[in-house]
Amino acid sequence: MTNSFADYAKAKMIILVGTNITEAHPVAGTFVKDAVLAGAKLIVIDPRRTEMVDFADMFIQLKVGSDVALINALMNVLITENLYDKKYVDSCTEGFEELKKKVMEYTPEKVAKISGISADTIRELARTMASIKPAMLMYTLGITEHICGVNNVMSCANLQMLLGNVGVDCGGVNPQRGQNNVQGACDMGALPNVFPGYQQVANAEARAKFEKAWNVKSLPDKPGMMMPTMMKNLTTGKVKGFYVFGENLANTEPDIKHVEHELQSAEFLVCQDIFPTETTRFAHVILPAAAWSENDGTFASSERRVNRVRTASVPPGDAKPNWWIFKELAKRFGHEWASNSAQEIWDNEVSVLAPSMAGIKYARLEGDGLQWPCPSADHPGTPTLHRGGKFTRGLGMLKAIDYIPPAEVPDKEYPMVLSTGRRLYHYHTRTQTGRCEGINDLLGEETADIAMADAEAMGIENGEKILVKSRRGKVEVKARVTKEVPQGLVWMAFHFREGCANWLTNPVYDPITQTAEYKACAVKIEKLK
């Protein structure tokens, strides 16, 4: 996030796009509602009528995957009607002329056909967005989980820069991250192209620094494989050994049947986890790990805040902290690692090697933690990035972007769109929440959410078991007839193995990030005989 959660309740205008905030980030959602009660304007852009629509001034129920087209049309209006922040664009950004040329192709009338939003509404929305400054934009996986995920993200950034809303309090582009430490895993360099603190592996200087710190002669200079490529290469034989730490890939990845074939193909699969999962079934070795409250350590949240995690209980049986397991493995290759606790790892390695976290030490994390960049011991941390429109790269880059439809669109055989996401009461594949007393009582099984009109047309009752089929597979699941989804849309989650949406989802990926298109594929529903 460019900004902080503390901004939410104080915001003057909030744009929620592709985020079901009250279910996926409930506490963040409460602050959005507080802002509305305090008089803020709220715009909700989503294919589904989420709970936040009850609080919204404008609800834009766009067609699944039409985000780029809609945002281009909004920018078309902002530029045509001279409503954009010219001063900001001139002094803080570059690429305006290319952007202008591109968005001129996206008239509200043309985009109305793509997005299902009328030209008048698009104009009204653009004018509303320009009427209040600053506006804060939040998004979640509705933006990223498309084959054009990167384009969607850049479109959000384009819009906010054009409105002059980046680099100010209560503004910015704010992706809310789905997992407690997905930000931290990125920050720590659990990515194929960067060391901790986003230092490129291709950069010789960065490599020399880490070679010295890690006491090795050389480090690989070529960026590695992203996860979908790794998995694909399990079947080609290019990847022989696969190490899965705390992921339940057999349920979380699109097209489960194929994913299981990939896992099955691993010559040697190591799983390190706290529970047996659908994925550990394929392992050759399973290593039992300490869990959340059994470690001292740190998480980094969406707002780049490094927070402490503290030990409250001991791991069961012989389970060990994950950092210890890696240290012990390294030892078997002749590498003696000095750090012998999470604090030593952070204080003596991470914060020494990552300049953006150089000022973060455990001693400073007793209270509310610190938000990176925090380059020195006396730096207070950074709640808002790009302050004053001064971007990390200098000028903010406006990018001309074209709309592309989802890879698989409805046709005669599979006439409906399946979109997926998360529900309030469970988390991912329920390895954790499924084992908490009371939680399964609140949500005990998966449903396929469908519109009243579709249910009526097919004679489907609420709660009736139906069949949902895609080109990849089929599931039997209860229908939940709801006003949340529009006609033609089926919406599901992947919390339950039975009825998991990922038996159906399409394994196609954004070409840059290799993020899968969980948000759109073609399905059909059938009544069970």
Binding site: Q179, G189, P220, G241, Y243, G297, N322, L442, A516
Partner: protein, 354 residues
């Protein structure tokens, strides 16, 4: 021009619009409260914060009375103390407040105030119980016999987390905090999302965590601050730990980013760590496909041997790994270091992209 008022005989500054409660606090005088909930519109329901204002017909509630220039406020007169004590005695008689059996014993505002005002015996007869305890929902016990109708839960639900699930229902002696249609929290038509904010703000034992029942008294537990293991907001939690076991979770008040709030998962989904299904020992798959228990040395030696074989035969890029986006930073750091410095590949990723 800075405005002033007279607080216990002393000229004290205040800001326009400020309530007596806040202005007094700035002036160094702490007025006791019960129903007052920071960040919500004051209701003046409990009258525990009553103070004397010169010229007023009766005592006024400090939480909901704005200060005016020159106002003379007395917070510690006999009349004030007598009234506060009476109000507490009335609250005590309005329900069952037998502390021995109450989950909130030791963490109860009413108990604290009764103690402070030296109330030793009930002054009024205890009202009969009108509503049975709601025990059907899986997470929150609603004991109406202990409810003092202070309204904090209603304010928290409507003004803080804005889930709008509960409100003040019925009138007079029949008053009750109700969901829409006066159904259980988990009823189909209830709007409750089990964030438990009502429990967090309940000053007595009317709303308590079901899973924590009978597991430990507040003075027996250690409170450990930590970060929630679910979504990416990073809510700050207090783990209430007794004998090395988490018995309940509450939100850290006044902490960033959650400011005393949690959701259903943050507050109630902590006990997976005690599941009997936890992996407790390394496991190695036998030729017949069955897993058998192994020592750490055996399991780690096997991983190292296999990886060395693969590196020798196919090179380091034939090994790949995904790290965990739920585990701590230090674990991800170690894993990428292991892959880069030890295996010699950049084939390290995690689930951020999926």
């Amino acid at each position: 021009m800075s405005d002033t008022f007279i607080l216990n005989g002393k000229e004290t500054p205040f800001k326009q619009g400020q309530m007596i409660l806040d202005a007094a606090k700035n002036g160094g005088i702490e007025i006791p409260t019960l129903c007052y909930l920071k960040g919500s519109a004051p209701t003046g329901a409990c009258r525990v914060c009553c103070v004397e204002v010169k010229g007023a017909r009766s005592l006024v509630a400090a939480c909901s009375t704005p200060v005016t220039p020159g106002m003379e406020v007395t917070t510690d007169s006999q009349a004030v103390h007598t009234a506060r004590k009476l109000n507490i005695e009335l609250l005590l008689s309005a329900g069952k407040h037998n502390c021995i059996t109450c989950e909130a014993n030791g963490d109860c505002r009413l108990q604290d105030l009764a103690y402070f005002y030296k109330i030793t015996a009930p002054r009024f007869a205890e009202s009969e119980q009108r509503y049975p305890t709601e025990d059907v929902n899986p997470l929150i016990v609603r004991d109406f016999s202990r409810c003092i109708l202070c309204g904090r839960c209603v304010q928290a639900c409507n003004e803080v987390v804005v889930n709008r699930a509960i409100s003040q229902g019925y009138r007079g002696k029949k008053s009750k905090v109700v969901t829409g249609g006066d159904k259980a929290y988990n009823d189909e038509i209830s709007e409750c999302v089990f964030c438990g904010q009502c429990v967090q703000v309940c000053p007595v034992g009317a709303l308590t965590e079901k899973k924590a029942k009978g597991l430990g008294r507040p003075w027996e537990t250690q409170k450990i601050r930590t970060t929630c293991p679910y979504c990416g907001v990073g809510c700050q939690q207090l783990l209430h730990v007794k004998d090395g076991k988490i018995i309940k979770v509450t939100a850290v008040e006044d902490a960033q980013p959650n400011q005393g709030r949690l959701c259903v998962k943050g507050r109630f989904a902590y006990d997976f760590i005690y599941s009997e299904e936890r992996l407790k020992t390394p496991l190695i798959r036998e030729k017949n496909g069955e897993f058998r228990e192994a020592s750490w040395d055996e399991a780690l030696d096997l991983v190292a041997t296999k990886f060395k074989e693969i590196i020798k035969k196919d090179g380091p890029d034939a090994i790949a790994g995904v790290s965990c986006a739920r585990s701590i930073n230090e674990d991800s750091y170690q894993m990428q270091k292991f892959f880069r410095a030890v295996i010699g590949t950049n084939n390290i990723d995690h689930c951020a992209r999926t």
